[in-house]
Amino acid sequence: MVTDPVIPPLLEVRDLSIHYGDKAALSGVSFDIRQHEIFGIIGPANAGKTSFLRAINRMDDFVPGMRVGGQICFAGRDVATVRNLYALRRRIGVVFPLPVGLPLSIYDNVALSPRLRGVRRRAELDQIVERCLTRAALWDEVKDRLTSLGSLLSGGQQQRLTIARALSQEPDLLLLDEFSIAVDPVTTMRIEEVLKELRNELTIVLVTNLVQQARRLADRTAFFLGGRCVELDATEALFSNATQQQTIDYLGGRFG
């Protein structure tokens, strides 16, 4: 993949470090995430992948004791100093591994974010809800019960509802943390197809424990281990000839 030097990166990470209390979860991470790429992050548990995603949309504000050092720039703007944090978060959609169906109807779950940004017209909301649910591969299953509670769906359905909700923000950046953990393989494939298409509209950071998923989707992939970014390369290059022994071991299934 050739990058156009004229298009600046969407996310610039500079010497990022994350601590919980005195314990370091991530240190010395620096790279750019380009516009309209799917950026894969793989690595064993405890690698700091989730912590990284948290730092991007300032979720550290919620976690007592979590400190972020270094710099993350979103669209050229240091996220640590943005004056309207909520505007930043609205531009970044997040899906965490545990599905969270809010205790609202399915429809209201997906319409929440558009409503927050001021969409009032019913027709427009209907359209957004249908589009987002379809993209999350959930529309067919719930179109006849949009008024029932989102928190009563099955685990995998709630996960897709969470994805639909993230999409309804119409974000510039979508952070997916092991999104397929509770989703069956067939549905996972359908969502993966959608993600590939979404690349035209937005940028995706995909944290996954399924290395093959990163291989299928990501343009570039980073390998995290023990709080460091060990290696970062175009996905095929990383998978076919990684330069670091740790990466080779992990991809070969020899640890982690």
Partner: protein
């Protein structure tokens, strides 16, 4: 290590610059949030204001006497409260001791009762039964304290005299039981909320391993709910501690240090209530009652801080 500089340079134009600006633009939602936060901040701070104002009021009413004429060692350790005889004696120890005795008995009565009720309602009762129980508990909490006083006078008194074969039925035991029964519904309600706030996934995870209901409650639910349960007991103590009329009626109001639960006793609150009306405004007697109020205030403060400390300690370990 040299790293490439971040690409944002001042003066960049184009769509990206507009995008970056939107992150700094404070829209209506931002300002609304700002206003709402300011409003609730004022609400929160007003609590401090009220406390300070009450403190100042109580403090200034008794200030002259407290500084110039009160012997603090007699006040805190003197065993005779005789404000109306000549010369007056202002030893508050009997009142402090009476309050402590009665509060302790009240807690011994209410805590087991309330925790039992809370665990039953939160963990075992289902459906209609649960609804009804909750309604009854809330009704119980709404019974006026003078009614409890009457129960102390006319129900508890003969029972105590009969069961324990003692002369005096209005005593520490009577007041403690009455206060304990009064505090129990409040403790139950708050404790039940704390138990209900424990996520069901925790119960499911433990029960799926074959833990018995009791094991789940004891090992998973109660530890998780501990801060809330401590708060419940704290509020119960506050209730027992500050109660006035019921305790005045049930305790016998004897101004001497009780030596067993069968002795009559007097509390700080009851003494203030009983004597403030007959003390001439501004007199030493009047002022010493405000000093008593200050003492009550300080003790409550210490109890609250201690409980807060316990609760925070629990969170740290959790």
């Amino acid at each position: 290590m040299s790293r490439p500089p971040v690409s944002s340079t001042p003066g960049v134009t184009g769509p990206r610059a507009a995008e970056a600006k939107s992150l700094d633009r404070r829209d209506r939602a931002w300002w609304f949030d700002f206003g709402a936060r300011a409003a609730v901040f004022v609400g929160g701070m007003s609590a401090i204001l009220f406390i300070a104002a009450i403190f100042v009021f109580i403090g200034t009413q008794g200030l002259d006497f407290a500084i110039h004429r009160l012997s603090w060692s007699e006040f805190l350790f003197g065993t005779h409260w005789e404000p109306t005889v000549e010369p007056p004696r202002y030893g508050a120890l009997p009142l402090i001791a009476g309050t402590a005795w009665i509060t302790v008995v009240a807690m011994l009565v209410s805590a087991p009762l309330a925790f039992g009720a809370a665990v039953y309602v939160a963990e075992f009762a289902r459906g209609k039964q649960r609804e009804w129980l909750k309604i009854f508990i809330e009704l119980l909490a709404a019974i006026p304290s003078v009614v409890w006083g009457v129960i102390g006078l006319h129900v508890m008194k003969p029972i105590i005299q009969h069961v324990f074969d003692v002369q005096i039925g209005l005593n520490v035991l009577n007041a403690g039981v009455i206060l304990g029964l009064m505090a129990a519904p409040i403790i139950t309600t708050i404790a039940e909320d704390a138990l209900k706030a424990v996520p069901d996934t925790y119960r499911e995870a433990a029960e799926a391993m074959g833990a018995t209901r009791w094991q789940v409650i004891y090992r998973v639910v109660l530890p998780h709910a501990r801060p809330g349960l401590s708060a419940a007991v704290l509020l119960g103590i506050g209730r027992a501690f500050g109660e006035t009329i019921a305790v005045l009626m049930a305790s016998g109001h004897r101004l001497m240090i009780p030596h067993s639960v069968f002795d009559s006793a007097a509390t700080i609150t009851a003494t203030i209530a009983a004597e403030l009306g007959e003390a001439a405004k501004g007199s030493d007697h009047y002022q010493v009652l405000f000093v008593l109020g200050l003492l009550l205030f300080l003790i409550t403060f210490v109890i609250n801080l201690t409980a807060d400390w316990i609760v925070r300690g629990g969170r740290r370990r959790a």
